[in-house]
């Protein structure tokens, strides 16, 4: 273990900085998300992921956001274990009938102000699963959605861009849902 740790120290972080196209957009995003996040949310945005019927492809890519190359936490974005700790619900899937109640209750358990991001093509309108007796067909049919990130599944870079777009929406208009009543 010592050897590996030492190697990591000598080699520096693996987190991307090299000037390929993707790397550049990550670096650019890093700066922009950082500014916006600090201004609006005081350095950090807590995200609760909810799978509402996805094929698990979106979950794999959301996971990848945490790997050393994307290192989501450097932007002040982090995943939390409970909706009670969350500012954002990241919802995937066409919303199956069997998950509808769980999604509603997760939304209700999230404190205001809160935002909902629907991730993936089937989270928009059911995608390839639309028309099924078992699917509601899109996250917005169940809870109000602030932003949709397309893709089947969206790549980590697209997910990052989407989260930035959310911050910009937030700064322009304030929370659309869940204003304290």
């Amino acid at each position: 273990m010592r050897r590996l740790l030492l190697k990591s120290l000598v080699h520096g972080p693996l987190t991307e900085a090299a000037p390929t196209r993707d790397d550049a957009s990550v670096a650019e995003l890093a700066a922009r998300v950082d500014q916006a996040a600090r201004r609006r949310l005081g350095r950090t945005l807590a995200i609760r992921e909810v799978d509402a019927g996805s094929c698990n492809g979106c979950e794999l890519e959301i996971h990848a956001l945490n790997n050393v190359l994307y290192d989501l936490e450097r932007f002040g974005l982090r995943f939390v274990a409970s909706p009670r700790h969350a500012d954002v619900l990241l919802v995937t899937g066409p919303v199956t009938a069997n998950m509808r109640e769980a999604l509603e209750r997760t939304y209700q358990a999230t404190p205001d102000p809160k935002w909902v991001v629907a991730v993936g093509d089937c989270a928009r309108n059911g995608g390839v699963f639309s028309g099924s007796y078992a699917c509601i067909g899109g996250v917005s049919a169940v809870v109000p959605v602030d932003l949709h990130i397309p893709g089947c599944p969206p790549s980590p870079i697209v997910l990052l861009k989407g989260l930035l777009a959310l911050l910009e929406t937030v700064s322009a208009a304030g929370p659309r849902n869940g204003r304290p009543t």
Binding site: R3, N98, S132, A134
Partner: protein, 506 residues
């Protein structure tokens, strides 16, 4: 001659079913099959239904023969296989929910996929049934002094799929775990019914996102078997390349995540990097990080680009450089071994009884790999070993993955070295003149064997398709392995299984 062959001969043979035989058998023969499954002579690899028929796919252990037995239901009833052979119980509960057939004598008649939330009943059976009345799901009782329950899910703490776990614990020790699944049931088989082959292939690729190549391949091979399509050699080899890349990516993800659940984040970070490198190579070569929609009926959608071979060789060389020191780290970290060795032991008897596929079966002495039995091209022409261990604990399941990573690396190198030239897709064929035809295929995904069965109608569309994820036979075993372990070791056991919720719920 094997007993399975005899059962087929005694039944009414269905002519257009390939490559395995299918026969409609008598009640006596169906019940006899349940006995043979119970006795361990045959392994159950699938059980599904449609209007008026129940079907089971079995493999004879000794001969390796495969077949589909069908039973013509009288009055919507068939003799429950689960009465003799417990691995069939959840499958039969699903048949009951989806098709409305009644398995006679089924020990557990609670609804499984139907949570009374649909606006209909029996979506694959006779239409027109009003939805089931909402009711509280009765969990199995666990009674005793000082027992307490821990309900978990369907929304879990991590970035994972939804399902409900009901733990009954005595202090720290789990005395019973009961799973309740079905939350991500999307009605995929209903969507496939009547769909074009192309649309059904897209759906098959989304049965379980982490196994998109395996599921799409199983579906494609079943369709090709039904229609008698010959896939060009280059496509056959490219499919194996895709499948091994998928296996690599998932095994890296799992090895890291298992260690992470023992709070050893360094392995998680290192394995996450390897996984990402595989996904980037996949995107560069085939246009999609998870390789969705790359396998299509008739062949593959994308050829390896000009620099693809170089990219993949760089990938495998890089992994070969980095991975051994990670394996050494895993093997030499006492605090990590303390968590994985002896934790969540699956007995070889249970693995065999449930015909547990993939690393779960192979870590418990079950030497089964669909690439070998029944086997399919190009694996019959490739050099690889199927690693097997006997211990059956979390550690053994990690080691099987490590050994399979090594095998996949050498398979990828060999495939690249010997990749035949030529077209990558069979020419689009007109609908079969013969009329209705059926096909079946068993494919080794990273998690285990995926079964696909399909009937193509006269108009060339899919009439009925069934995709059985390996998780069906693995989820029940997770309930068994956690028994007597502490609650804090559940994430380790669960991740070492890594069953698919989406693939199971379908």
């Amino acid at each position: 001659m094997g007993a399975l062959n005899e059962a087929i001969r005694a039944g009414r043979r269905v002519s257009e079913h390939r490559p395995w035989p299918r026969a409609v058998v008598s009640r006596e023969s169906w019940e006899q099959a349940a006995h043979r499954l119970h006795a361990g002579e045959w392994a159950l690899v699938g059980l599904w239904g449609e209007r008026d028929f129940a079907h089971m796919a079995v493999i004879e252990r000794e001969s390796g023969d495969c077949a589909v037995l069908s039973y013509a239901c009288e009055g919507n009833r068939f003799p429950a296989v689960g009465r003799m052979h417990p691995p069939a119980i959840r499958l039969e509960r699903a048949v009951r929910d989806l098709v409305g057939l009644e398995p006679e004598g089924l020990p557990d008649t609670r609804a499984w996929l139907d949570h009374s939330k649909w606006n209909l009943r029996h979506p694959l059976g006779q239409a027109g049934h009003a939805p089931a009345a909402p009711s509280v799901y009765p969990f199995l009782p666990a009674e005793g002094e000082s027992l307490h329950q821990i309900p978990v899910g369907p929304v879990h703490a991590g970035i994972i799929e939804p399902g409900h776990f009901r733990f009954t614990a005595n202090g720290e020790t789990v005395v019973r775990l009961e799973e309740r699944l079905g939350y991500v049931h999307k009605g995929i088989e209903s969507l496939m019914a009547g769909a074009s082959i192309q649309r059904a292939a897209v759906l098959a690729g989304r049965v379980s996102g982490d196994s998109t190549v395996a599921c799409a391949l199983a579906f494609a091979r079943a369709v090709e078997a039904a229609l008698g399509v010959a896939v060009p050699p280059r496509a056959v080899w490219l499919r194996a390349l895709l499948a091994e890349l998928e296996r690599l990516a998932n095994h890296f993800g799992d090895i890291g995540a298992i260690c992470n659940d023992a709070a050893f984040a360094m392995m998680h970070a290192q394995c996450g990097l390897l996984r990402e490198q595989v996904l980037r190579a996949a995107e560069a070569c085939f246009g999609h990080r998870l390789m969705m929609d790359c396998v299509v009926p008739g062949g593959v959608a994308h050829d390896l680009p000009g620099d693809g071979e170089r990219l993949l060789l760089v990938l495998t060389a890089g992994v070969r450089r980095r991975f051994p020191e990670l394996v050494e780290l895993y093997d030499n970290t006492a605090s990590l071994q303390d968590r994985t060795v002896g934790t969540g032991i699956l007995s070889p008897q249970l693995a065999e009884q449930f015909a547990a596929g993939g690393y779960i079966g192979r870590a418990s002495g079950r030497k089964f790999d669909a690439r070998r039995t029944p086997g399919y091209a190009p694996y019959d022409d490739l050099q690889f070993e199927v690693p097997v261990l006997e211990e059956g604990d979390v550690n053994a399941r990690v080691w099987i993955r490590i050994r399979e990573v090594e095998q996949s690396l050498s398979l990828i190198d060999e495939i690249l070295r010997r990749l035949p030239a030529g077209p990558i897709c069979a020419p689009a064929s007109s609908p079969p003149a013969a009329g209705v035809s059926e096909g079946v295929a068993l494919v080794e995904g990273f998690r285990g064997d995926v079964l696909a069965w399909v009937r193509i109608a006269r108009d060339g569309n899919v009439e009925r398709c069934h995709v059985r994820d390996p998780s069906w036979f693995q989820w029940p075993l997770l309930e068994a392995v956690i028994d007597g372990n502490i609650v804090a070791d559940f994430p380790l056991c669960n991740k070492s299984f890594n069953c698919s919720y989406a693939g199971h719920d379908l």
